[in-house]
Structures are given as C-alpha cells and as structure tokens.
C-alpha cells in the first residue's frame, strides 16, 4: 500500500514536561484530515503511551507517522537501553519505572498492553544496549 503522507517528530528525552507533544500534534493532523473520532482516539492513546515510554525509559527518540486513507502507521524508535524480555514487559503490571516516575503519574506497567489493545497490529523489536523500535498499525476500516 502506498503511504500518502509522512510526519516526523523528535521526541525530547530530557524533558518530561514536554512528553506527549508529538501525540498532540498527530491528533490535530488526524482531525484535520477527517479520520473518525474513535480511530483518532485509539491512535492518540497508543502513540502517547509509546512516546511517554521513550521519554521515561529511553532518553527520547524518533516518532514517524505514515498516513494513507486505509491505514495509519506509527513507528517509535529509540536508542535507549532496550527491553530484555519483551513478553514479560508486555504483561499488565510489569514495570521497571523508578519511584520518581510513579510520583509523576506513570509506571503502572500498563502502557505496552494498552498499546497492543488499541492498535490492530503491534511489533516490538528490541535489543539490549541498542534500542527499541515499536511499530503500531491502525486500520481505518
């Protein structure tokens, strides 16, 4: 399938306060393009979880969004510590987030399972010491 549009965002890993800005911009773009509200919400929630993860676990990274009328694809790539056991990390409640992250309202171990729930396809490629790339696919129909 041909992608009609590509948007790129740098996710700043040094700034928790700005985390989520890329997801906010993507939500705006999707609304302007007239995608259905339910689909926009699924993309927003899943991408936001991934963006927060890049900031709290991996010092930031790149977010790329590819749009076609049929499909929205979100690729979140970081060069952080990687995930040793992806199957374990995908379980609800598993979190390595430190207490200071919990006091900011995150770190319940719900993000990855939530991304899985709200996307139609999710792939996690991760190598310890190299980084993590998560691809989320959302079908418009």
């Amino acid at each position: 399938m041909e992608d009609l549009l590509h948007y790129h965002y740098d996710v700043d890993g040094g700034n928790f306060a700005s985390a989520g800005e890329a997801s906010v911009q993507v939500k705006r773009v999707l609304r302007q393009m007239g995608f259905p509200p339910d689909l926009i919400r699924r993309v927003s929630i899943a991408m936001y979880e991934g963006e927060i993860n890049m900031v709290i676990h991996a010092k930031g990274g790149d977010a790329d969004v590819y749009l076609s009328p049929e499909q929205i694809r979100v690729v979140l790539k970081d060069v952080g510590p990687g995930i040793k056991d992806v199957a374990l990390a995908m379980q609800e409640g598993y979190s390595t987030a430190p207490d200071n992250i919990r006091s900011l309202g995150f770190g319940a171990g719900m993000g990855l399972p939530n991304m899985k729930r709200y996307s139609d396809e999710m792939t996690v490629e991760s190598t310890v010491g190299v980084g993590t790339t998560i691809t989320l696919v959302f079908n418009a129909f």
């Binding site: 906010v24 929630i45 309202g105 399972p113």
Partner: protein
Amino acid sequence: MTIREIAESLNANVCTKNDSLLEKDVEHAFGSDMMSDVLAYADEGSVLLSGLLNPQVIRTAHMLDMPCIVFVRGKLPTPEILMLAEESHIVVLSTPLRMYASCGILYTAGLDR
C-alpha cells in the same frame, strides 16, 4: 450533567477562560492520580478528577477526549497548565474537596463508572 453543574456541586472554581464549554454534557467520571490507569481504564469523554498536577494530566485527558479536569484538594494549576488546557479545549476546575468526597458527590448526582 453539565460541566457547570459539576462545578457548582463541587463548590469548584472554574480556572480556564473558555466559558462556552461549561454547557457541555458529560455522563462518566474517572478519579485517579495515576495517568497510567486513566489511559488504561477511563471511558472516553469522562470527567477526570485528579490530585496530580502536571502537564501530562492535561495531555492524558486530551488523548481520551475528556472535556473537563477537576483538581481536588484545592490544587491550583499553574498558568502553563491552564494554557495547555485551553489549547486543548479542556475546562479546568479546582475544588477544595478531597478525592473521595468529590467522587461521591458526582456519583450520587448520576455520573457513573
């Protein structure tokens, strides 16, 4: 229940300037200081009650299309947080009541979940 009625029943200050949004009708509410749980469990379009005060509370609500955030225990949002909320068309309320009392009042008034 409209946002205006929510503000009145919680004796809350309306902190944002977008007054036209006060007539918006809502049916559900969700109370938590953990944004992880809000993202995982809250219904879209709910009112969010929270004692946590940072920009991620606004962004979390924005992602879930929540029209209103109530900060409990008299927490006063900073100008940055209010600006972010106004950009996202979210009404921010601040109530002196605690979380438990606030949720109880709204639940009794008919907001469910």
